[in-house]
Assembly symmetry: C2
Homo-oligomer: 127 residues x 2
DNA sequence: TGAAAGCATGAACAAGTGCTCATATATTCA
DNA sequence: TGAATATATGAGCACTTGTTCATGCTTTCA
């Protein structure tokens, strides 16, 4: 990140393009950058087994932290940390009643996306 | 995975359970462990922006490695490494023609799952 | 009011990940 | 056959991530 001398032609990545027509078409049809990054961020949150199990549980019904801990056989702290991430990502929402906090899925899309992913891995099994 | 002596009461995680009825219901309805882990693995692969962009591109049409490199402005090596992972995960397939290798999506589910995720992040935007 | 219950959070550390660099392999063509 | 092209891959490194541990906050109840 310091020495840029002798690099008048500073293409970061000067790979040759073989199919200019293909490139042009794909460039035209590619979705905008930002949504793609957001989709990747969403999948990144889904892509941890603890969080995936939490989502599967909350897709069945609302649960409090300690019940989730018992269900998944993990410490309250670990679950709580993950729930925080899921909440920041707007995947779950919470309501507090006394000293108990109940979590549930924030959006019906979430369950649908998981359902499709399940279908996919099930078919992979057979075929 | 070796030493289990002196662990007669081996609750790994003895959190109290508040709602036994909820726990019983969710336990009964929870999907099997293995598919959940596989779904998480699938999402993990989706959850990187480079791979997400590759998938978006290949969802439009088949492409070779160097065109992908040019499109995404990344080195051929970086793209090739990611394509390897995508192929092992059965998300893309490849066909070789001369010294050019063309990649495409291996399954129509993939595009559908991405489409749903896009819908989700778009609605998040609006509120 | 003080103790207990339920949950949240900061620090720290091991494990995992994505890129770069160098190099290997495979194919084409002169 | 030898050079050039297209792609693959192993090693290394900076960076990220998920858990644990200790502790703090909030609410309830005796």
């Amino acid at each position: 990140m310091a020495d840029n001398r002798e690099k008048d032609t500073l293409e970061l990545c000067d790979v040759p393009v073989i199919h200019e027509d293909v490139l042009a078409r794909v460039k035209a049809k590619m979705p905008d950058e930002d949504p793609v990054y957001e989709v990747a961020e969403l999948f990144k949150v889904f892509g941890d087994s603890t969080r995936a199990r939490i989502i599967c549980a909350l897709n069945i019904e609302e649960m409090c932290v300690c019940d989730l801990s018992a269900l998944l056989n993990m410490t309250q702290s670990a679950i709580s940390h993950q729930l925080r991430l899921l909440k920041v990502s707007r995947i779950v929402k919470s309501r507090k009643q006394g000293r108990v906090v109940y979590y549930s899925l924030d959006d019906s899309h979430i369950g649908q996306i998981f359902a499709m992913a399940f279908d996919h891995v099930m078919e992979e099994q057979e075929g």
